[in-house]
Structure formats: C-alpha cells, structure tokens
C-alpha cells in the first residue's frame, strides 16, 4: 500500500518536472490563435513548423548549429582525450587538484567576448562558422577533459601494461586499447560537449551574422522586437531539444554492446 502510494507520488513528481516541456510541445502543435487556450489539445497543425522554416530560415540556423556543435566536439575530442588520459594516469595532486587546474581555464565567457571579437575581426573570422566552432572548442575543452578523466580512471592499468608488452607503444596502447574500452564514456562526453555548444548564445550573437546565426540566436530573435511569436518559439524549442534526444539514443547504442571491463572474474 505504502509502495503504491510512493510510486504514485513519484509519477506525479515526474509529471511536474516534464510538464513545461510537454506544454511547449503542445503549443508548437496548436494554431497560433489557440496558443494561450487552456484546453490540452484544441487542434493539431504543423503550420508553426512550416512557417518557421519558410519565413524565418530556421533550416539554415539549424544546420549552422549542427555544424558548430558537432565541429567543436570533433575538434575538442582529440585534445581532450589525451589530456584527460594524462590527468587520469599521472595522478598528481588528486582528483580535486586536477579539477582546480581545469577550473582556472573556465574564465567568464563575457570577459573573453570582446578580445575574441577584436581578434576575430582582424583575422576575418567573424561571421564564420569555423570561427564560432573554434571558440566552442576552447569552451568545451576543460569540461570534456574532466569528464573523460573519470572514464579513463575506470580503465584498469593492467590493460595498458598488457598492450605494451604485447608490442604497442604507450600511445598505441592508448589508441588501441584504452580508447575503445572507454568508448561509452567518450560518447557521453561528446554529448555533453555537443549540448554546451548547441546551447551557447553569447558568442553566437557577437561573432555571428544573419548568415551564421545558430538556433539560440534564432530563438532569441523570435522573442524580441515585434513581440513574442509563441507558436514559432515553441516549435523552435521543440526542434532544439531534438538532437539531445537523438544523442541520448546514440549513447544507448554503446550501452547495448555491453562493454563491461570484466577482465577479472
């Protein structure tokens, strides 16, 4: 009886947590005139989505976001993985101490905004997806390093020893044994980096132009000047969450492979 009650309570709590996001989804599917109605689903239309792509060039924004978010992960990972690995293996000053090192790399982005803007203008990198990707790479690096460090620590050291006596160099052991074994962690870190870049607004606004605007910039634009276009905003937010959901499924794939370390009984 207590069990049933507590499960009911937990379900209710889940609903409360999910309600805002469900309501956004609902609003994106309802004609604009009925946006503020209190009925759950008065009518269903895909017009908000269509208009978002037709009138607001949301397709370009979406593609831009995918390019910079994926690009920053692709650039950051080859740097973060060896760094995290080095941190995990040479345990100088302990876990928290290493975090302290990374923390100093996490400056207030707003303090970097202007210097980077000026630097980029002189280098001709403003209004460029590549330039934005580079900034996101720099932002991602300390976070990815930290996350990966945790996964690399979980890889038994003997595995490297085995690979090295089997004929691999230290780097070879890292690439051929440690990286594949830590694959689920790398996938998780990649998703985190993708989210950080996907969600970033400040640099996207400052360094971008109409051609290179990303999803957050587009969402902001929908909320300003001519009043809030709530239906389109809802459609945009729904689409913005989509890659996060897809990324989660991508991680699940690695889980299904059931890679446990399992080298000891």
């Amino acid at each position: 009886m207590l069990r049933v009650l507590s499960h009911l309570g937990l379900c209710l709590a889940c609903l409360i947590v999910l309600l805002p996001i469900l309501w956004v989804l609902r609003t994106s599917l309802v004609p604009e005139s009925l946006s503020y109605s209190t009925s759950i689903l008065p009518a269903v239309t895909f017009e908000n989505y269509a208009s978002l792509f037709a009138d607001n060039r949301f397709g370009t924004n979406y593609m831009n976001s995918i390019i910079v978010a994926a690009g920053s992960v692709i650039l950051a990972m080859p740097l973060a993985a060896p760094t995290g690995y080095a941190f995990a293996r040479f345990r100088t000053s302990g876990r928290a101490g290493r975090f302290a090192v990374l923390a100093t790399q996490m400056l207030p982005p707003v303090a970097l905004a202007l210097p980077i803007f000026m630097l980029y203008r002189s280098l001709g990198l403003t209004n460029s997806l590549f330039g934005l990707t580079l900034v996101y790479t720099a932002i991602n690096l300390p976070f990815l390093t930290w996350i990966l460090m945790g996964f690399f620590e979980a890889v038994p050291r003997d595995l490297e020893g085995a690979a090295m006596t089997d004929g691999a160099t230290a780097f070879g052991a890292f690439v051929r044994v440690v990286l594949p074994v830590a694959a689920p962690g790398i996938a998780a870190a990649a998703v985190l980096g993708f989210i950080i870049s996907w969600n970033e607004f400040l640099f996207a606004l400052i360094l971008g132009g109409p051609r290179t605007a990303t999803v957050p910039v587009a969402l902001a634009a929908l909320q300003t000047s001519n009043g809030v276009e709530i239906s389109k905003v809802s459609a945009g937010v729904s689409l913005a969450i989509l890659p996060l959901m897809l990324a989660s499924r991508f991680i699940q794939k690695y889980l299904v492979q059931g890679l446990s370390f399992g080298s000891v009984k």
Binding site: M164, G167, G262
Partner: protein, 371 residues
Amino acid sequence: MASITLENVSKDYGSGVVGVRDMNLTIEDGEFMIFLGPSGCGKSTTLRMIAGLEDISTGRLRIGERDVTRAAPRERNVAVVFQSYALYPHMSVRQNMEFGLKMRGMAPADRAARIEAAADILGLQPYLNRRPAALSGGQRQRVALGRAMVREPDVFLMDEPLSNLDAKLRAEMRLELIKLHRRLGRTTVFVTHDQVEAMTMGDRICIMRDGNLVQVGKPLEVYANPVDTFVAQFLASPQMNLVEARLNGNAGAIELTSDILSFTLPRFLHAAFAKALGRAVIFGLRPEDIHAEPRPGAVPFEASVVAIEALGMENIAILALDQSGKRELSARLGRDFSASIGDRLTFYADVARMHLFDAETTRAFPRGRME
C-alpha cells in the same frame, strides 16, 4: 640465451619509500623462478621492472645478453600474465590472442596457426569468438595464458596468476602450468604469496621481504635450511615453532635449555652449532617433527592440548607447554590422532631435525644437509 640478470636493481619511489633495494639475481635460461613474499615485499614491483612496466631507479637489467634497463616493454620480448588477467574486453578471445602477433607484424596465416595451436593446448577452441565478459574465471585465466603463449616470448612473467581462482581450479592450473613450462622450456618468473605454489612449481624460489632479497634456492633446500626465522616461518603452514633458548656445555656435550624443553644435542649437530655455545638462540622445530608416539632420538615432553584443527587427512594440534597457555607449539599429527581439549599428554620432539637461529640477528646457524 634468455636468462635474466638483475645487477644492483633498486626501485625508489622517492620521499624515502623504497620498493626494491639493491637486488642481485640471475635467472637461468629456461628456469622457472618463483618470487615469494608477503604483500608489499617488492616481488610484483620486481616483476614489473623486468617487464618494463615500472622504471628501474638504479642498477642494470639484462635479458639474455641485451641490456634492457631502459628499453620499452615492447622491446623486451616478454609476456606478462596479470593477476587481473587484463584481457582486452572489447576484443574476442581470438582477437585478444591475435593482438600481440598483429603488433609484431606477423602474417595473418601464421597468426591463425599459432592461435589454433594454443587454443588446442588450452582447450579454448569453443570460446574463440566470445568476449572475455562471457567467460568464467578459469576460462579467462586460460585466455590470459594463451595470449602470452602465442607470442612465444623469451620470458614469461606471471603475477599471481592463480590467486583469483578457487582452490580446485588453482590446483589444476598449477599442474597445467608446470606441464606447459616443461613443454615450452621458456624462462618463467612466477610471483606468488602462496607457499604451496612456491614449493611445488619452481626450480628455485626467491624469497623477498621489505624490498630485500632474503634467500634464493631450490624449494626443498630453502625448506631444509632457511637462512633466518622469517623464511623459516613464511615457507610453511603451520609455521615452524620457535622457542627462545640457550646453548651450554662444551664440544663433548651441548645442552639446549629453554623454559619448556631442555635436551642434549644429537652428536652430529655439534659441529654445526658449536659456535652458538653460550649464546641466546632461537630453537626451531617444524610442526611435522613433533609426534604423538615415541621414536628413536625424539625427546619426550608434556603438553596440554589447546585446540585440534581436524583437516580430515591430518590433525594440527595446538599444544600449551606451561600453565599460562602463553607458549604454544603446533604439531602436525596423523589423522588417527585423537584427544580432548585440555588433555595433558606426552609428545615427542624429533630434535635431530631442529633448526637454530641467533636470537639477536634471527639468522640461522646453518645445519647443512638434513639427515
């Protein structure tokens, strides 16, 4: 050809922590050498230094004629069997065994042939396409062994490879490893803290303690002539009984006296122990040299039975010699021995097999070959 020579090898972890101190040892080509000692004695560190997985602080290491003190692990042509097995979890059994061959650039056909041969010997054929996670502990152990075998290395290094197996499997694998060593004839270093493995598997034992090499020799020689009380106690279970005593008399008749047992030394031991005359010594007697029935030359003594560990195939009796029960001896008695706790009985100490140690240094007075 693939002997291993350690010359003054030390491992210094810095800030006063020394892993291995000034070790000198030559392991002959084809020899099966055991490193034995309590945890933290430096035996695994030494093995890892031979493998190249741990830097050598000072000293030189040679494998065969080659100085490999600073060589990378892959340049040493050694194979390690880890206590944790360290199988590559993302590879099948076949890929695990293939990895080392691939890294050395062997042709696919040759690789396959080697893997087949090893899998046949180890009974791994049915599992070649499985991942390590899908294997039992004993099977993983075999894969780890197979991965080392296919490489046909100059040297096998095994770091407590049997310690994760249960008693039955461990006994089986012990015999299999001995047979394998006979078949392959490769130099092997085997680290263990198990005295049964140490006594039965190796050509020689190297006993370590606190980073120091204490004694090297053939198992039965070490057992018969331990250099100090540490080796005497470590190499057997139950341990050798040690009693503080004193040697008095002259070359004609040497008397050993202690709180509990006093007797005249057998004549043939006079020469060996004469230099201990008048000194504080420790008298050592193994549990199997205390008997419940009289035998020629054995010294009778009275003791109370404190406990009996009945193992089925034999009985270990714990005997108290004085009233306080503080001085205890253990005796390895036949399986037919029976007594009640508290019984006061006569036992017989076969003092011809006694050991003698200096009370101050704990070093043995060598008694020469056991009669």
